[in-house]
């Protein structure tokens, strides 16, 4: 309890620093997740639509998943200049962190989009065609809505991973709530560590809960 009290006091006395870290953390997470969705959801669609390259894509990203997020960050670090140039409007370290987190979010997005689309009963799709839907209408009006719950579950996993891993951005000086955690660890100051850890947990939890809610919302009701 004392520890929490101290953490709270820290936040009170360093409001600007805390809010700045929180803003950076949220921005890192949101940009990374959006970028990952733009890049990897279409890749998941491609994987689901091609029996030739689909399994290869899914196999590759499943394997790539074992690379820990911190390793992704350090693997990219030597190329920070080139990668930073991709997003000149961001500080280099921020850009690097966004790229690493985007890659991290890829596997669950691809895997779930592919699985969700493939799980749709082929007889339902054929029936949609039989009623006179064009291929695009079959995809957009039937297959995608039915794949949505599984795809959103992937987005949920990705969001939680990204929010949690964004703490590592502090290691390369990109800021975020991870700053307090790294400082707390080096200084053996657990109250400082909590200043980072608790908000990160709350952010991850709220992403988890709101996306789980969305998932339920788009799931067709089963037998009542």
């Amino acid at each position: 309890m004392n520890l929490l009290r101290e953490s709270w006091d820290y936040i009170q006395t360093h409001q600007d620093r805390f809010l700045e870290a929180l803003r950076v953390h949220v921005e890192l997470s949101v940009y990374s997740l959006l970028l990952a969705m733009i890049v990897f959801l279409p890749l998941g669609v491609l994987a689901a639509r091609s029996n030739r390259i689909g399994p290869a894509i899914v196999g590759f990203v499943s394997a790539a998943r074992v690379v820990p997020s911190i390793a992704v960050l350090f693997l990219l670090y030597p190329y920070r200049r080139e990668l930073g140039d991709l997003a000149p409007f961001w500080p280099t370290s921020f850009a690097l962190a966004v790229i690493a987190l985007t890659l991290l979010a890829g596997p669950p997005l691809i895997i779930n989009a592919d699985a969700g689309l493939r799980a749709v009963d082929v007889s339902i799709l054929e029936n949609a065609r039989g009623l006179g839907m064009t291929e695009w209408q079959v995809f957009s009006r039937v297959q995608v809505p039915l794949a949505l719950p599984v795809a959103i579950a992937g987005i949920r996993t990705a969001a939680v991973e990204v929010i949690a891993s964004a703490t590592l951005a502090a290691f390369i000086g990109a800021g975020g709530l991870g700053r307090f955690i790294t400082s707390g660890l080096t200084l053996y100051d657990y109250s400082l560590l909590l200043v980072g850890a608790i908000p990160v947990t709350l952010l991850a939890l709220s992403a988890e809960l709101s996306l789980a809610g969305l998932e339920r919302l788009v799931t067709p009701p089963a037998t009542t």
Partner: protein, 334 residues
């Protein structure tokens, strides 16, 4: 715009479907799934494709709405080669119902029914009005509009599938074992309703089943298929009384025994040795057929029925063994 403007087929009869030497060979298969089929289906006829599993019924059916393309031959609808038409446009003109209902689980009942009208760009009010009409036609309460398919029973779902296929009053319907997954009572009821709808609307129906009894109940004409070929094409009576070969005879076989029982009357199978004055037994008149008697025995759970003459005077009794031997005798005669 009145609703009827969207239903160009209203008051018109069904389409003519012609198969002209139609074959379909699947890649890798050693023989054709459908082989050289020549068949004309006259407007407004209820035609049943009958045959064992794997004989090519579904393949033949799906070639009509181009879910499967023939490897050779031509299919014409009202004289027009269907390859000349846009596939999606063609399909919107054809009602399509399958066994698994194919209802879209994420759409409410009203949305499911409205799929084709929406593809055709009907205005909202016309669609809504049509959904109500269709719910009336298939006997579901309007309150079902807002439900999802999973909240309906199998029979109700199949009704919705039927309503969806009927939405734009198509001049022809393709139905692939639509009642195959239903219990016997629901199946009978839906068969009756489908017949009533056909009588009312007069569209051409091409209906697939492997169930001879269903075929006989529904069909104006039965087309018997074996290994992708048409073996016999005729009225239900033709098929039952004059099977073209042993294959058709076997196909008709199981149900035929019961149908034969319905041709024998109780009086001629009477067991005159029984205790005629057996009180408390259900009674039938001597002109009742044996199928009715069998039905009565099974329903009441009694061993025998009393057979009476037209004045109600008992003339004998009839039990399962009597029906059995009567059925056997007549069976070997023919």
């Amino acid at each position: 715009m009145p609703l009827s403007d969207h239903l160009p087929n209203s008051g018109r009869h069904g389409s003519r479907i012609e198969f002209d030497r139609v074959s379909r060979v699947y890649s890798g298969a050693d023989h054709a799934a459908v082989s050289d089929v020549i068949l004309t289906i006259e407007p407004g006829r209820f035609v049943v494709l009958l045959g064992p599993s794997g004989c090519g019924k579904t393949t033949l059916l799906k070639m009509v709405n181009r879910l499967i393309e023939p490897t050779s031959g031509t299919i014409r609808i009202d004289g027009e080669d269907i390859r000349q038409m846009n596939a999606a446009t063609l399909r919107r003109r054809i009602g399509y119902v399958i066994q698994q209902t194919g209802l879209f689980p994420h759409m409410r009942i009203e949305e499911n029914i409205a799929v084709v009208p929406r593809l055709l760009g009907w205005p909202k009010e016309s669609i809504s009005q049509r959904v109500d009409e269709l719910l009336d036609l298939i006997g579901l309460p309007h309150a079902y509009r807002r439900r999802y398919p999973a909240q309906l029973s199998g029979g109700e779902q199949q009704r919705v599938g039927l309503a969806r296929a009927l939405a734009v009053d198509p001049s022809m319907m393709l139905m692939d074992e639509p009642f195959g997954a239903l219990d016997a009572i629901t199946r009978l009821r839906l068969q009756d309703e489908l017949l009533a709808i056909h009588r009312q609307l007069g569209q051409t129906i091409l209906f697939v089943t492997h169930d001879i009894d269903e075929a006989i109940r529904l069909a104006d004409e039965i087309v018997v298929l074996r290994a992708g070929q048409v073996i016999q094409h005729g009225s239900p009576l033709d098929i039952v009384t004059a099977p073209a070969d042993d294959f058709v005879r076997d196909l008709v076989g199981g149900g035929e025994a019961l149908r034969r029982l319905s041709l024998i009357d109780a009086g001629s199978a009477l067991n005159r040795n029984g205790n005629v004055r057996n009180e408390g037994l259900p009674a039938v008149t001597s002109d009742a057929n044996l199928r009715t008697v069998l039905n009565l025995l099974l329903q009441t759970g009694t061993q025998k029925v009393t057979v009476t003459d037209e004045n109600g005077a008992p003339v004998g009794t009839l039990g399962i063994p009597d029906i059995w031997s009567a059925g056997l005798e007549r069976g070997t005669e023919s």
